[in-house]
Amino acid sequence: MAGRARIIASRVAQALPVVVGVVIVTFLLTRALPGDPAAYFAGPAANETSIAQIRAALGLDKSLPEQFAIYVWHLLQGDLGQSISTGQPVLEELVRRLPASLELTLTALLLSCSIALPLGVLAATRPGSWVDHLCRVLVTAGVSLPTFFTGLALVYVFYYLLGLAPSPIGRLDFVYLDPPRITGFFLIDAALAGDWETWAAAARQIVLPAVTLAMFTLAPISRITRASMLQALSSDFIRTARAAGLTRATVVYRYAFRNAMLPVLTTLGMVFSFTLGANVLVEKVFAWPGIGSFAVDALVVSDYAAVQGFVLAMALLFVVLNLAIDIAYTLVDPRIGFES
């Protein structure tokens, strides 16, 4: 166990340079603002002295390394600056909106995994069958779908034509009140409060955006599941297991599937990155009040502090998630423990 703890510690240490790189890139992005940031933040009614005051207040009159030190110092205190569009601190806005984005992303990933994993396994165990062909078509077509377009197409079919889905106006219809905030996930909060009517309303709202995101992530997950299942099934230990007379189900699920899961887990990290990007587009289509639509609204009014805060938050989220996946990998795969 001590060896495993050391592996986890070294993996965490490896993530640190990446975090430093992310912070440097975000800092450079804030300094690459077109024109004079001080004049920009001072507003249109500013004169020479007020611009100079703002420049001093923002620390823009100092050298670049000094500015970087100040930037990092503010970051460490959780200060991402003020959003000019909402007047709130950026960090507060991001924290308030993050659960909405996470609820959508996780629901979508759960949905796509529950379809993609069986599909990939079936395609690998029955090569050349219709499931295999379906898998191949899905994989090629899935990566060609623009998420914002599939979202709109779903809205047209299920809201306008069939009337099955509620109008795409966010997490909850106006007639319902938000459930008491515990986790920020409406589905969980409503269930905890025992308010099943609100739960059903929230579930109806999340179906279309989640399906849109799931369709987007279906392709990479089923592709890697199929490929790694094929590889696992053709390896020696499977041949041995078959020769030993184990049933087909045991061979496929106990032996092959568990080994095939490891590359799938790694790919999920990559897929999560795509999903965070696609989230922005889906949130805009469905007026979902997450951090993606916050960033898009901020972009429209050139609220740079908000956009940079969003970029940094997304990158850190992604780094942390990849770290978590790697650590899970260490815990799941006994071979890594044996090596040390």
Binding site: S144, S273, V280, L281
Partner: protein, 290 residues
């Protein structure tokens, strides 16, 4: 002498291409689709039946008909003409972004793979850092920081694609650095950059071509996504992403043709490049076929 040695492999590879095309007709279809896209990009403005920017309030929001194949938008502009004309801009953005990342990625990747050491360590860290961002989000941040123009969309798309090329080239160059032909070229007095550019780098081209094709589709999606959220291209310019964004307001009231046709054009283009990439991969490396 030179002729026989040169034509022989060329003839073989031609036969190989013909063989792959026969065994996988989908690749042939993909090339035909590519021809359609290129024709639309080159001849689009000449072929368009209407002026894509001419509004006609009397015929606003008409559904598809024989007069207007894809209907008209809220200003009475012909959607078919706009979709056709937009091909050139969408293709130009993605092609220039991919060319940029190809060139920069090749140079940096070659340097990292050939010289190794500190060059390699610093460059690899840089690529890791770029890859640590959700890529679409990084592109958003870059465009927001550099300014909201089409050129900056190109640069942002190029930056997020550079690591893919650089890593590929780095690996290909690294394994050939000490190979016999590279040592021979160096011994006969070629400078490092010459060995790298004319002897080692060409070996990386086949897998790079596959990457280019897959990347083109991705770059189109990325650029369209950026203009969908209001970055880069601005109205009234005809571009697929922004046309979908403008049409989105009319979806809920049933005027589907505004958003659907540019969206389909977008899907057609991305699908073509993805099919082409898969087909090229079969030609370049049959073992990687899935």
């Amino acid at each position: 002498m030179a002729d026989t040695t040169l034509t022989h492999p060329a003839a073989t590879s031609l036969r190989h291409v013909a063989y792959v095309l026969r065994s996988n007709p989908v690749t042939g279809v993909a090339f035909a689709m590519l021809a359609v896209i290129l024709a639309a990009a080159l001849l689009g403005p000449a072929l368009a039946p209407y002026d894509p920017y001419a509004s006609d309030a009397a015929h606003a929001l008409e559904p598809p008909s024989w007069r207007h194949w894809f209907g008209t938008d809220n200003l009475g502009r012909d959607v078919f003409s706009r979709v056709l004309v937009a091909t050139r801009l969408d293709l130009a953005i993605s092609v220039s972004a991919v060319v940029l990342s190809f060139v920069v990625g090749s140079a940096l990747g070659s340097a990292a793979g050939y010289w190794g050491g500190w060059t390699d360590r610093v460059l690899s860290r840089m690529f890791d850092t770029i890859m640590a961002f959700p890529l679409f989000v990084l592109a958003m941040g870059i465009v927001a920081a550099l300014g909201n123009t089409v050129e900056n969309v190109v640069y942002a798309t190029a930056v997020i694609n550079v690591p893919f090329y650089a890593r590929l080239v780095r690996a290909e160059v690294n394994i050939r650095r000490e190979s016999g032909f590279a040592l021979a070229a160096r011994l006969s007095g070629n400078a490092d950059w010459r060995v790298l550019a004319f002897h080692i780098f060409p070996n990386a081209l086949p897998p790079m071509m596959v990457q280019v094709s897959l990347n083109l589709g991705w770059a189109i999606l990325n650029a369209a996504g950026l203009s969908f959220i209001g970055l880069g291209v601005r109205p009234p310019t005809a571009e697929w992403g922004i046309m979908v964004a403008e049409g989105a307001n009319f979806i809920v009231s049933g005027e589907w043709w505004l958003a659907v046709f540019p969206g389909l054009a977008l899907m057609f283009a991305v699908f073509t490049f993805n099919l082409l990439g898969d087909g090229l991969r079969d030609m370049v490396d049959p073992r990687m076929r899935t």
